[in-house]
Amino acid sequence: MAKRERALAPPYGGVFVARTTVMDGEDVRRATWRMAHEIIERNPVTADVVLVGLQTGGVWIAERLAQVIGEVTGDDVALGTLDVAFYRDDIGLRPVLPEATTEIPLDLTGRTVVLVDDVLFTGRTIRAALNALADYGRAKSVQLAVMVDRGHRELPIRPDYVGKNLPTRRDEMVDATEAGVVIGDVTAK
């Protein structure tokens, strides 16, 4: 579930009401498959790649991508998770607590990092993630993979790999899971 997004947008912690299914489980599987191949195409030396899933929505996508890349190339791709709570720019403006732990198993210096998230919206989470990554070493390059790009960027951030471009209204909410991608609304509890 788009837990983070729901926590970020008022009414905080509201209830997600699904409206339209835009991708089903099979669509999500194919998009993951395609993105994995695009990552291999752009980074021929996959042993240098580290996939970092953003907690919590990006973690399962990073795991799937690593799995597919492993199957195709035979390389084990390094996998990490990142929680950006302490790097956010809205600390103090709304409740900000970490959702899960950060686990980056190796020094990122000289590696190609692919940040993985479920839904790209304002770009502020990714901005926080870029700052957080810098504390784990100087990566050779950082790329961004997202299942859904829903627009409404507030920062100059652009994804490298996209599952689906999805035009949305600002007040809508997008929920991306393995079972599919759903647009809906958040209502107060």
Binding site: A7, P10, P11, Y12, G13, D83, A85, F86, Y87, I91, G92, L93, R94, P95, V96, L97, P98, T101, T102, E103, D107, N131, A132, D135, Y136, G137, K189
Partner: protein, 350 residues
């Protein structure tokens, strides 16, 4: 209890009241229990659990090559210590710096207190400089509470007051026990349910014991106090504890033995015949440590009087987690500072 991401209240110390939405300012005018950490009892089991969970994240931060996050950039924390302290003050200041907060250190010996300035004026002077949190240690019980009545913006954190409480010590003790349980493969232990913990020594003068008893009991542990009658509080009415005067009979049943420092500086009355006699009856000697079951922990809040309440060699046994306690102190205090100043989540039950 309003812990969790559902609350929209901001717990930031908007000291100057210059920024923030109108609703935030209106709320800031209301006194909120969750803004301060004065007693461990304010937290309850749920609040302690919230701190524990957040501490996991800060343990990870502390393990990095750059152990610093920008979470509290622009916030100022003052440590206001009227009593000597090494670990607590350094631990709080390290915690604040690792959160990128600015730190001011106040020490009573080099301040205008020497010129006769009152505590209230000192506190108000510091508040006027625009700060977000005051960490208070004082020999008088209740001083942090009193300071919290005087200030309007900043959060007040009790770093030990007289014989009353030392809440962050209790938090780091709970965290250390849980961490050790996890290291032993006991997964997902959200509480200390069913653990048998003995607190041994000078309970009477110990703020650590008071906070620990509340915290351990809130998390479901069974607490036994072991001390000579003269070193127990005058009344134990309402304490969720058993009392024993025989350490050797208690030791074989324990999961944790928690030794208190014998506070020689507080021994104004003749409460003990001699230190040697205390050690002979209540000290954790090597022979007594061998009575502990496999896997039991030895804890101590420090500073350790080696050879008095604990034998020198016992403090260095693998079962002793005294240095883990100190290491966890920084992460726990980061969690407390972040919850009070950054997270926007009310720490305590209102």
């Amino acid at each position: 209890m309003t812990v969790g991401t559902t609350t929209g209240t901001s717990a930031t110390g908007t000291t100057t009241g210059s920024a923030g939405a109108p609703s935030t300012i209106a709320q800031a005018d209301q006194p909120r229990a969750g803004r301060h950490l004065l007693s461990i009892a304010d937290l309850g089991a749920e609040g302690i659990d919230e701190v524990m969970k957040l501490t996991d994240s800060f343990v990870e931060v502390s393990s990095r090559s750059i152990p610093k996050v920008p979470a509290l950039r622009g916030k100022t924390v003052v440590s206001l210590f009227f009593e000597d302290s090494t670990r607590t003050r350094l631990s709080f200041e390290t915690a604040a710096r690792r959160l990128s907060a600015d730190v001011m250190t106040f020490s009573s010996s080099s301040s205008s207190l020497k010129k006769g300035e009152s505590l209230r004026d000192t506190v108000q002077t510091i508040e006027a400089m625009g700060i977000d949190a005051v960490v208070v240690r004082h020999g008088g019980s209740g001083v942090p509470w009193q300071v919290s009545r005087w200030v309007h913006g900043p959060s007040v954190i009790n770093a030990g007051d007289g014989w009353h409480e030392h809440p962050t010590q209790a938090l780091l003790d709970c965290y250390t026990i849980r961490q050790q349980q996890r290291a032993r493969g006991i997964k997902s232990v959200p509480t200390l349910q069913g653990l048998r913990i003995a607190i041994v020594g000078d309970v009477r003068h110990s703020r650590v014991a008071r906070s620990d008893v509340i915290a351990f009991a809130a998390l479901g542990a069974h607490v036994t106090l072991v001390a000579p009658p003269t070193l127990l509080p005058a009344s134990l009415v309402g304490w969720p504890v058993d009392v024993s005067h025989d350490l050797e009979s208690v030791l074989p049943k324990l999961d944790v033995v928690y030794l208190l420092r014998l506070q020689k500086e507080r021994m104004i009355e003749a409460l003990l015949p001699s230190l040697r006699e205390y050690t002979a009856t209540y000290g954790l000697t090597r022979q007594r440590a061998d009575l502990l079951p496999e896997g039991a922990l030895i804890m101590h809040p420090g500073p350790v009087n080696r050879g008095v309440e604990i034998a020198a060699e016992v403090a260095d046994l693998p079962a002793s987690v005294i240095t883990n306690q100190v290491a966890n102190g920084v992460a726990v205090r980061m969690a407390v500072l972040y919850l009070l100043l950054g997270s926007g989540v009310d720490l305590a039950a209102a």
